[in-house]
């Protein structure tokens, strides 16, 4: 069965989510990931949106993390502070974040490209990203793999990954045992080395070579041992994704950003 890069990414990311856990998602791909997980191996995965929506039954993809879909037939519609406080006290397992830049320790930039005082591009800033990256147990990133994005040094550290390496989060005062967990791109699935806390490739997508990944990554990537191949989406996953999760192809139909 053929599939697109975005379909593979969504299926691979869904696999990383366990059942009976809580995930805070945004709109777009992460939302599709969580919906797919719910419809396959994780029926009791609870979805939250940072504007206050808890455990909605999503009738269609939200356009904004604050729109009315995000609490449609939910079990609670509350405040942003409440959602963040669920996270701050350790009740939320996963979150999905993005950014214009990511470094080897999973730190993210969504604030400026160029110098902060005279930016080349002013980006939105943290929004809730820095909060979620600080509080949730595991942070996932689903993004296109390119050299502008996977950089040696961020122009601005908006949201904390492992900061400067092992123990740095804890030294900074962030909750222990939290941090980056997976990066899923159009080329590979990456995790973080348990000791060095640097990004490492766990599996290459079918047909992707190590060199190709290394070529679009500015920093030195480590490799897990053994390095495996990402399992392709199953027919079931694809059917659910295409027919139930995103029948209008809002996400599946668009170019990779």
């Amino acid at each position: 069965m053929t599939y697109t890069a975005i379909e593979l990414m969504i299926c691979a990311a869904a696999q990383a989510l366990e059942n009976n856990k809580i995930v805070v998602v945004g709109t777009g791909v992460p939302c599709a990931v969580a919906m797919l997980a719910q419809r396959t191996h994780a029926p009791h995965l609870t979805i939250m949106f940072e504007a206050g929506g808890v455990a909605p039954i999503l009738p269609t993809m939200p356009i904004s993390v604050g729109d009315s879909r995000t609490f449609h037939r939910g079990i609670m519609a509350t405040s942003m502070a409440e959602i963040m406080q669920f996270c701050q006290r350790g009740l939320v397992d996963y979150t999905f974040l993005g950014g214009a830049q990511i470094d080897a320790y999973g730190n993210l930039n969504s604030t400026v490209i160029g110098d902060y005082e005279r930016p080349k591009v002013r980006l939105p800033g943290s929004g809730g990203a820095c909060d979620l990256a600080s509080f949730c147990w595991r942070t996932l990133v689903v993004t296109k793999h390119d050299r502008r994005r996977f950089v040696k040094k961020l122009d601005f550290l908006t949201s904390p990954g492992y900061l400067t390496g092992p123990g740095a989060r804890e030294r900074a005062g962030l909750p222990a045992d939290t941090g980056p967990y997976r990066v899923i791109t159009d080329l590979a699935v990456m995790g973080y080395h348990p000791q060095t806390k640097r990004m490492q490739v766990l599996s290459l997508h079918p047909g992707v070579s190590w060199d190709r990944v290394a070529a679009v990554t500015e920093f030195e990537l480590e490799s897990a041992d053994p390095l495996t191949q990402t399992p392709p989406p199953t027919a079931d996953q694809l059917a659910i994704l295409r027919e139930e999760v995103d029948p209008h192809r809002y996400i599946l139909g668009r170019a990779l950003a």
């Binding site: 009315s68 950014g99 800033g125 601005f156």
Partner: protein, 345 residues
């Protein structure tokens, strides 16, 4: 060990002495406060004020008030940019368009973007011009800063921003917990001079109900020195008293009440109407060149007498009914870029 301090500027004084004196002087009279948006903005929004807008960027926003602030040419405002998307986009139209400088200082958590719809070209121009001072925060940090003011405290602690450049460019400070020694980020109270909040229902005194998520509006209404409410519908005072546990904002926090049906347009209003993605896309496109944008603004904002005229220009009652049906029957949003990038704020 020296504890870190952000080097951003603080745009509002967190002292409780000041805010207590203000709240002490605020009217607690159960008196009707219904007025027009124009009158409310004229009386309650002042040049140089610290302004905050309720809702969540394109959801439950007091659009009419933001338009009116532009129309009345208010200058030199400080602004709380917590998931400020379309509201920020409108305010940014008061800079670099030959009408002075509406925005002077921004506490930024999320600005210039419209979530998945992309970045606002004009908001970028404004923020990259250097004419607006910025201090960085996060969505939660701004919610907590409002909460501190709502509680009558000069600061609240949190565990966000530790170890980041966001902290470095904030005006927060690292402190240690006096009990456990844990490092925490102290967030200074934020008591805006004036806030505008759109709600589902209010009575003439300003008792308000909100359906669905409240975002940070409970805190905002309580933290702010002056509060303008716009509502989809006025409801009888008796209806408020029938179910007092449904009241989200009590009358003594509120200074003006304006009935503005479809008041969150082109944003979404839960249970009422969906966002107008077509108009939001048109707006983003109009921003590409300054010239186009000025004509766009002339047409939609400056040459509209009020919000009704704006709604008419956007398609009037027919379009509004379409958005109502989209909201209630979950039809596919008509046209619009809607969902372009998964990057989350």
């Amino acid at each position: 060990m020296e504890l870190a301090t952000g080097r951003g500027k603080l745009f509002a004084n967190p002292s409780t002495r000041l805010s207590r004196d203000t709240f002490s002087a605020k009217s607690r009279c159960l008196t009707p406060k219904v007025t027009t948006v124009a009158q409310a903005v004229r009386e309650l929004v002042r040049d140089g004020d610290y302004l905050a807008i309720g809702g969540f960027g394109t959801n439950r926003i007091p659009t009419a008030v933001v338009h009116e602030i532009l129309r009345q040419g208010k200058q030199n405002l400080s602004f709380a940019g917590h998931t400020a998307t379309h509201d920020f986009q409108i305010l940014a139209a008061g800079n670099l368009t030959g009408r002075g400088r509406t925005l002077a200082r921004v506490d930024s958590a999320y600005i210039v973007g419209l979530e998945a719809r992309g970045l606002s070209p004009h908001a970028r121009r404004v923020m990259e011009s250097g004419e607006v001072a910025v201090t960085e925060w996060t969505n939660y940090a701004l919610a907590v800063r409002l909460q501190a003011a709502a509680m009558g405290l000069p600061f609240l602690p949190s565990k966000t921003m530790l170890g980041t450049d966001t902290f470095e460019r904030s005006a927060a400070r690292v402190i240690e917990c006096p009990f456990t020694g844990e490092k925490l980020v102290a967030l200074p109270a934020l008591s805006p001079d004036v806030a505008a909040i759109h709600v589902h229902e209010a009575d003439v005194y300003g008792n308000c109900r909100i359906r669905g998520t409240t975002v940070a509006d409970g805190e905002l209404a309580r933290a702010s020195k002056r509060v303008i409410i716009t509502c989809e519908r006025l409801i009888p005072h008796d209806e408020i008293r029938r179910d007092p546990h449904l009241t989200a904002i009590p009358f003594f926090c509120v200074d003006a009440v304006c009935e503005v049906p479809f008041g969150s347009y082109p944003g979404n209003m839960p249970g009422e109407y969906f966002s107008d993605e077509r108009h939001l896309k048109q707006w983003l496109e109009a921003e590409r060149t300054l010239e186009d944008y000025r004509s766009f603004l002339e047409h939609f904002i400056f040459r509209s007498a009020d919000f009704w005229e704006y709604l008419d220009k956007c398609g009037g009652a027919g379009r509004l009914q379409e958005l109502r049906q989209q909201e209630l029957f979950f039809q596919r949003p008509s046209e619009g870029t809607s969902q372009q990038a998964e990057t989350r704020r």
